[in-house]
Symmetry: C2
Subunit: 456 residues, 2 copies
């Protein structure tokens, strides 16, 4: 955060095929064929950069759910797509997802450093532990490990990655053509990690990242997940449906950070926000209705059944959820917080199954506002001023139209209120988010430098 | 190959930091700081594209040898770098290395398909099984698995990757906005692979690659390696020092292909070639001398000791190799063929240790020609006409200067002889190499399509 200046919002664009509304691909103006066309993403990224957004973000998983008949779910791979976008943008941050459950730390450490070099310091890592067996069964015969085990592995994984990121001192490269000394061997460090899940010797085969370390992003919602995010994250995604829930989450995480001795400004909390924008309230509502009419009940039932871990196929769509028969939150291994959020929403507003499906079709339970640019800016301002957000994870229902509308109509409104930058002030993702450049951990592996090959 | 037309050469550019000569970074005109600067590679890629080269190629490993004091060995990661280059080039093929020993097939399958989509059908995979413990110890406590085990895993790995590549039928996407049918579930296939090393259910989370499958490249030199390459590869890199050796290798591999029922044209054999170019023979020799004078004997001894698996530190540089004490080729687990090549070279030309070091400083044992554009074109033509090559893997000793010289002086000479294209005729890497677009394997997993989620 820019000290001594008025607090401003941080905005991340969550890129996702045709948009966050599950029926967006059916919208007359959507381009479902664009979802594997890099030029489609180029146009979206450039629009976001025109809007001076802090960053864009790609979620990821390593499997395909069995619902491809209903909607677009394939996705270009984040490292390849973000590197491509690095070449056609110059400022916007590039946040990619990598799972600690189905990767090796050496590969992940290196790919982010490579992206950070390629983009000139714009890389960020959304650290996830994966959800669901559609991914698990592409990496062995075992189902998804349980939540605790996933986070244990994540802890060790991150420690290894950070040690690898620190394995080159800032000024390790001497590059003296005359004497022939390329690297000072004393400034390259093996990490000699030997832990429960990983043995990694190091050093990394790339020099220190321009940002020191790429930015760490996380979306822990469970107890374990929040603890992880509070310890490590520098930006936190979260799904919060009401201002009150948002405030509770914000206070909880910032409180945890204080207890850990971290500056609460060192992590920006970014609730998801799906803006459905009209020049009048009626126009916005029409847009929402138009999208909702394109949803497919069979898919909604499948999606809800999957989250609630119970087949809802036999129940009347216009009746209530069968609360008595539903699994308790404690029994849920994946998407625990999302599970709770859906139940709370249905109970609070007394929704039928059909209504719950529609309410979550827009952005899978994230906060959604249907209104004018002024109304949307009002809500964003309120969430920030009333302690629920440092900014937002923008989830436009439809690309490119609703991103265009946000950049052309909501961003200027925020700028007029001095709530958002009118131009980038820094070059790197860290600078956009007002995050400090991390110092190198002093004693990687405890050894001094790496043994030099003796000159003879 | 373009049928009915005169046979022409295929040219791949082997990109490698400051150049293939180990002392290239010390050359007055080299830019060692460029090796992590994407704009440096952009300039090289665009030069290669100006020269109408078929492809460019990045080697890779996942570790750093302990010789960083002597030379540049860090490298941007291939998928991130190639995707970035895809955005600033339009025709040249993009070949990246991925090891089957230290990766998961799902990730590799997906990254290449993603690169193929991003580049419009220009992706190729150099399949390697890794060499050396600098990589191994970044992925566990075990040293490099032995050669046979690595190739067993490679066989299964490739089968899984190809099944994943075939898991989407060409026309699986219906994309009917009106009916709401996005994908025809009968055209998406689980692969249900359960093998010795991998369990992978599939399908991939990306539609079929523009090329059908990315191009397969390999550099097997051992018996097992050649067998693998003959079965699978569509382009083959190889290090051959003399025309006679090149002919033997060429005849051997093409013969194996015939025996396997493959069209010998279905794999292009590309020996490495390091061209040191001068307008006169004397100028070329001066260039070579200038580079050789920049080599560091301590590094040369280390490199040779490492390959020969014996510490040569105590032996006089100007004496012969201690042949009696050297390990036999049969005892070598990694770089077997390179080991044999060095021994043959030293014996054949009766080289001292210092001479062998210098002879292999240029391009690590690959064929090197020091001469005029005409002399170099003569040799290239001879290797092609006399059955040693379908083209070459170009390994310029210094970037960018020696690449510029090749494109500006040797390429026109080859074009004048009608040995090389004057413009691209196709769009994809397959088309440049004259390779057929692979048909989908009919029965992935034997099941029909994937079960659809029932509509209600
Ligand atoms: C905006 C947002 C994006 C997310 N992206 C991914 C993702 O790309 N891949 C993934 O496996 N999980 C993703 N998640 C899930 C989180 O990583 C996390 O698992 C989830 O919020 C539940 O928290 P928990 O892990 O503490 O139970 C995302 C969550 C949110 C809120
Ligand atoms: C031009 C060329 C490039 C190669 N690139 C790599 C590489 O990037 N990574 C790697 O591990 N091995 C690489 N290799 C080694 C080969 O994959 C192969 O292991 C080697 O030629 C020895 O053959 P063998 O595996 O049959 O013993 C390369 C070899 C050649 C000739």
């Amino acid at each position: 955060m820019t000290r001594g200046k008025k607090k401003q919002l941080h905005l991340n664009l969550f890129l996702r095929n045709t948009g966050h509304h599950e029926a967006s691909w059916r919208h007359p103006r959507s381009r479902p064929d664009g979802v594997i066309d890099v030029r489609y993403y180029q146009r979206l990224a450039q629009t976001a950069e025109r809007g001076k957004l802090d960053s864009l973000f790609l979620a990821d998983s390593y499997g395909l759910p069995p619902t491809m008949q209903f909607l677009v779910q394939q996705a270009l791979e984040p490292f390849t797509l973000l590197s491509a976008l690095a070449m056609v943008t110059s400022r916007i941050g590039l946040i990619g997802t990598a799972s600690t459950t189905y990767n090796e730390p050496y590969h992940v450490a290196r790919k982010f450093v490579s992206l950070d070099h390629i983009s000139g310091g714009r890389a960020g890592w959304n650290i996830v532990t994966s959800t669901g067996n559609a991914t698990a069964f592409n990496f062995g015969a075992e189902p998804l490990p349980d939540h605790t085990d996933r986070y244990r592995r994540a802890d060790e994984f991150l420690a290894v990655v950070q040690a690898l990121w620190d394995s080159w001192e800032e000024d390790a490269i001497v590059g003296d053509k005359a004497s022939g000394l390329y690297v000072d061997p004393a400034k390259l460090h093996e990490i000699s990690h030997a832990g429960e899940h990983f043995h990694v010797r190091g050093p990394l085969n790339l020099p220190r990242a321009p940002q020191g370390q790429p930015v760490l992003v996380q979306a822990g919602a469970s107890e374990t997940g929040r603890a992880f995010a509070s310890r490590h994250a520098e930006a936190i995604f979260t799904a919060q449906n009401t201002l009150a829930d948002g405030q509770r989450f914000y206070a909880d995480v910032k409180g945890r950070m204080r207890k850990l001795g971290r500056d609460p400004e060192a992590a920006k909390i970014l609730p998801g926000l799906c803006p459905i924008i009209g020049d009048t309230p009626a126009e916005a509502q029409d847009k929402e209705r138009e999208l909702n009419e394109l949803t497919q009940p069979a898919y909604g039932v499948y999606r809800l059944s999957n989250l609630l871990k119970m087949d809802l196929g036999g129940y009347p769509l216009d009746g209530p959820l069968p609360y008595q028969e539903l699994a308790h939150n404690a029994e849920i291994n994946s998407q625990k917080a999302r599970h709770q959020l859906y139940l709370d929403l249905a109970r609070r507003e007394n929704l039928t199954i059909r209504e719950l499906i529609l309410r979550t079709a827009t952005s899978r339970g994230h906060y959604s506002i249907t209104g004018t640019p002024v109304e949307i800016a009002d809500e964003m301002e309120r969430w920030m001023r009333e302690g629920a957000a440092d900014g937002f994870n923008l989830m436009p229902p439809c690309f490119p139209t609703e991103l265009d509308a946000f950049v052309d109509k909501v961003v200027p409104e925020l700028q007029n209120r001095d709530l958002f930058r009118t131009d980038y002030e820094g070059e790197t993702l860290r600078e956009h988010y007002g995050l400090e450049r991390p110092a190198r951990a002093a004693a990687v592996a405890g050894t001094g430098g790496r043994a030099a090959v003796s000159a003879q």
